[in-house]
Every structure is written in structure tokens, then in C-alpha cells.
Subunit: 205 residues, 2 copies
């Protein structure tokens, strides 16, 4: 399972790196997440320059796509060049947005107006104005499309992708390994609780 | 308050970026965290190349120093060139280690043998073998030196530094802003609970 973590100029490091680093804890089991960007280098909102690991086109062939957030998410969602490159398809990909990544999720009509999209509190009014509902919750998924709101809920996106890719036990192992010492079971339970209502797992998972 | 987040080859993205991104949420109040490395570019354990924002020497003049972790922390701690550059001083700096950053904290004798250092479960046996105790907890501080164990406990390091720099109310605001939507108060309380026993705040804070 290859995961494209879409990362644009002025990106939020929490949103791109928490999900990528958590999922890469499962690399020996076949999950690989890549910082994926339209340019060779992207600079974060805090001035950190990062080299893209994959070009934007990689998103089209990835098994899962996470749309990260940043200061320019609305411009990114309106950019005809970016929209022309992306051919995302929930029939063959898991797709998720983090915080203001919701703008691109909405622009690509990966969620139908009237349906819920989780996003951060600052983006919620604009997402509502586009005709979506914004649940006051950190995570929501319908079928193969998910959204999360609040930077640190990126761990719930990672949990959902891990559970869908390898089953709940692998998702547990991923969170357990990264959770604070002495609090690991509680962190696993919190992450699983956030995503469990939205999983349609096979009997084997 | 300038914060140097020490980031070495094969670094763990969670450990460097969670603490840096959280602290930079307080940039308008004067806190600025920088990815600080001995080389112009450092590559993470997952192959992400990042340009250093500051050279290693910046650590000596920073108001706070966070020693990040990675796959080569033991080599970093033993590297005479790195040790020669670093002149850290808890009398004028807050100093903290994350996970295997504990090796450099120990090598620089910023904690006395016999005292506790929090670290990740994989590093704990080696830290014990060096003569330190390893509490089964995510965070510990004595005076101006702290340590945290388990990648995601990096948010507790950020909370401690924010509270020491600007007071508890600013630390609360920082975590609240980044916490998952619908869970913000619980995340603030968890982070404050982890660090509160170790704070010696002025009456005004």
C-alpha cells in the first residue's frame, strides 16, 4: 500500500508529518507513505524547506491519498493546474483530507454537498458556505473517503488508513509504538474509538 | 524565546516536527522554533530530506534546546565533533530530550547518573545501562532539564517549554489550537497534567 501525503506550499508540518511518520511505522508490513508535492521543494508555514519524495502525479496511482493542510489550501483547491493533474478515484483509492485539505476534497467533489466534512475550526465556516456540514468531531468517513479536523487528529487518519490496509491489529500496533510511554493503551483506545464507527472491515480484520 | 530543535541524520519526523510546529503556534507571542542540524540538509529515517533552518551552533545561543531522536542517536551522542560544538547550559537554557535524544542528554551530563530520564521503550535498557533510571512515564523534568518518551509525548515537551516561556495559559492555547475538533479540552487537560507536577511557575503564571 503506497500512500501519497499531498503537501503544498505553506503546509502545516503536523498535518503532513504525523500521518506520514505513523504510517511508515508499518513499512515492514508493506505500507509506505511519501511526501508528495507539485514542486521539487515545498516550504512549510514555519519556513522549513522539504524535498518532495514523489511528484503530484503519484497521487493518481497511490493506494491511499491524504490531502494535507496549510496556509494556501483555498488557493490550491482553486488552482486549475493542480486540479487537472489529480485524477483521484475512491473506487480504487482511500482518500482523506486533513484540516483545510477539506477545500481540495470539496473542490474535487469527492464528497457530495450536503454530506459531512471534518475540518479545523478556522476552515469550518467556508466549508459550510460551500454546502457541506461540519460535524463538531475529529474524524468522519463514508466508505472510502474520510476527513479529519484539528492538526493532531492526523493520527486518526493514519489509524483509519492502517486499519483499512492491514486491519485493526496493525493500526493498534502503529499507535502503540508511537504513543507516550505509560499511556500507550489509552492512546490506542482513543484512536480506535475515533475511527471504529466508520470501519467496514472484513471478517478477517 | 528561540528554540533549537536538534535534528540529526535518520531523524524521527514526529519528534522534531511535533514540538517545532506546536511551539511555532506561539510565534506571534515571541516563541520561534527552528530545525537545527549539523549539516545543511538532513534526511529522516523515512527518507524525507529537510533543509536545516539553523546550524548546530545555534543551539548554544537558543533559549531552549530540544534534542530530537532518530536511528543514529547513539552515534550522535558519541560523536566528538557534535559534542565539541554543543555548549549547552541549563543555567541559562531550557533543555529537553525526546526519546533516543536521551543519549545525547546523558552524554553531555545534563542529567546526573542515578537520576531519571524518560525515553522510548527501545532506548530504555541502554539508558539504564548508563546508570540512569527510566520512569515508566511520558515526561519528567528537574529544574530546567526535561525528557520525554514515546514519539507523541513530544507534545508534552512543547507544553512544558510553552508554559515555562509564557505561562500555563499560553501552553493551553497552543494545545487547544492543534487538538482534534470536539476533543480540545481533554487534550489540553492531558498535556497540562503531564507537565504540571514539574513546573515551578511564578505566581503570575
Amino acid at each position: 500500500m503506497n500512500v501519497a501525503v499531498l503537501t503544498f506550499e505553506a503546509f502545516n508540518e503536523l498535518d503532513s508529518f504525523v500521518v506520514a511518520a505513523l504510517l511508515n511505522r508499518l513499512s515492514e508490513e508493506g505500507v509506505r507513505a511519501y511526501i508528495t508535492a507539485p514542486t521539487e521543494t515545498v516550504v512549510s508555514k514555519n519556513g522549513v524547506a522539504v524535498q518532495a519524495q514523489k511528484p503530484l502525479e503519484f497521487a493518481n496511482e497511490a493506494d491511499a491519498v491524504v490531502i494535507g493542510s496549510g496556509m494556501k489550501s483555498a488557493e490550491v483547491a482553486a488552482d486549475p493546474k493542480i486540479r487537472a493533474v489529480l485524477k483521484l478515484d475512491p473506487a480504487r483509492q482511500l482518500i482523506a483530507s486533513q484540516c483545510s485539505g477539506a477545500f481540495l476534497l470539496a473542490a474535487l467533489r469527492l464528497v457530495e454537498p450536503g454530506r459531512p466534512i471534518c475540518t479545523d475550526l478556522a476552515s469550518a465556516p467556508a466549508i459550510k458556505a460551500l454546502g457541506f456540514t461540519t460535524p463538531g468531531k475529529p474524524f468522519h468517513a463514508e466508505g472510502d473517503v474520510a476527513s479529519a479536523g484539528g492538526c493532531l487528529s492526523s493520527q486518526y487518519l493514519a489509524t483509519w488508513i492502517a486499519a483499512r490496509a492491514l486491519g485493526l491489529e496493525a493500526a493498534e500496533r502503529m499507535i502503540w509504538g508511537a504513543a507516550p510511554v505509560g499511556e500507550k493503551d489509552a492512546w490506542v483506545e482513543r484512536a480506535l474509538s475515533a475511527v471504529r464507527p466508520f470501519l467496514r472491515l472484513s471478517a478477517a480484520a
